[in-house]
Symmetry: C2
Subunit: 335 residues, 2 copies
Amino acid sequence: MPELRKDPITGRWVIIATERAKRPTDYAKEPVVIEGGKFCPFCYGNEEKTPPEIMAYRSNGTPPNTPGWNLRVVPNKFPALGIEGELERAGEGMFDRISGIGAHEVIIESPDHDATLAQLSEKRVEDVLWSYRDRIVDLKKDPRFRYVLIFKNHGAAAGASLEHSHTQLIALPIVPKRVREEVDSSKQYYQMKERCIFCDIIRQERQSAVRVIAEDDVFLTLAPYAPRFPFEAWILPKQHSAAFEEASVPQFERLAAALKTLLQRVDSVLDRPAYNFVLHTTPMREDTELYFHWHLEFMPKLTKVAGFEWGTGFYINPTPPEVSAQALRDTQLPA
Amino acid sequence: MPELRKDPITGRWVIIATERAKRPTDYAKEPVVIEGGKFCPFCYGNEEKTPPEIMAYRSNGTPPNTPGWNLRVVPNKFPALGIEGELERAGEGMFDRISGIGAHEVIIESPDHDATLAQLSEKRVEDVLWSYRDRIVDLKKDPRFRYVLIFKNHGAAAGASLEHSHTQLIALPIVPKRVREEVDSSKQYYQMKERCIFCDIIRQERQSAVRVIAEDDVFLTLAPYAPRFPFEAWILPKQHSAAFEEASVPQFERLAAALKTLLQRVDSVLDRPAYNFVLHTTPMREDTELYFHWHLEFMPKLTKVAGFEWGTGFYINPTPPEVSAQALRDTQLPA
């Protein structure tokens, strides 16, 4: 018998197929393959093909917009929003709009065209996480912004238009709907219980253990109870904290290990699928410290999403999280 | 300058590209082509390849599960939910679940394998709409259900696994999240203004006219102010009504014309794209009559949806609704 399950944070119901469940091997394997061989604006020597860099990590004192960097952040060449201008809020009868002010940046994760994020060393993955933090901290100073979205598309099927590994960032004058819902819902929960809903989930999941993918002293990686997608996974800090950008040095170290390990597990079980991940940190200029809990949401691209998901916010997930968690937990990691 | 726009019903913000806007011709044309030639369980003579029919429209007195029908409704052979059993609600610590009870049906819209819904006669499209109504009315009697979702996937890119034109139906023991949001939000608006938010939108859109695609005395077809997708379109009854299934005979006639015309316009402007549509009618066993307003949401499948849309509920739409509405409005319909 299939089951309907409710996500405790957003209230979304999903159908989980528990009987005719799809196991990892039931998904068509379409590994993301880095082909190379074409001109790439993210490679060494092509620095002038991107807009001038916003920041870079360089260990050798090379000047901006030249080779020698380990990580590079540049404006998106085709930005969805414009960085210049006044933020104008206006009505149009009963409708509301804001001028399209925002930042749209690209984090080039490494000079190595062929390495995926999963293949970078832990130290380099940590650099990527530090760059997220540095950009959030910098963009927070701009009073026009309310949220910085960090998201990664890996593989064409997941929306990546360039194969050289990169992450995107959008700074927005509004809080996106799903983050708004999480913040509002966790606030409501806190008002009712005086506890963080994410902390409660962490406590329960550690106890039952069936949806735990990995755990160390700092982070918990789990398959959520009511996932929208097969093999959806979340990484949460075990200690309560609303802002990713306020994590400590040891936390960044451990998060790099947790993220790299999750990506390796997924590559091993699902044969290098396309994927997306999104960082949910606190909105700016809101005091969410008591009740919000930052986390990273990871979604491999295994199934075609049909129309009624869009029109209804209702999902059918053919792989129970207990099955995906076990497969990811049990897989052998490369030495 | 791009614009951020807020959907007045759900509160969702979207980025609308107003300058480097994509016009209809900018989208890769991938017309849905009916190839035929393969075995099809929805064609005449193969009635025993589907589960026994739930109902059929037959004008010639032929017996069930034999050829001669104009429209046929059958259970989905691989249902996401099971129709038999008790509805059990249970907790699992802080989590909530319900046994996966529901109906999952397929409406085979016509015996003609090659005809798309846009190509059926108005009379046949009207039959399809009547079948939606008949199934909703029947399933409403089952006290276990709270919602009947009617949705259509057209073309493989939009999630259709069989090319013979059909619609799907899922009856659920819960109200899907997006419908829940629409109902709750329109209720809130009503409490504030004593008016239906959809009626207000209809009034304003008719006045400004820039997003109107088509209008007759009964229905308005428009591009919504803050569409998630390029060429998204809604069809709304101009007279306030919460329940699709309570529409009148003349309304069904006119809706058939409005829907067929919209599909023809889309086929003409976008060269027969894959698409989805979803019917939003009132939940069962809730008195929404004063504030909810049923409608149909249509979304062609033109862009790849990347990860951050999933993780954030935030959309970038490269075609302003004023541009899509004008293109659809101005296209020449087949005589």
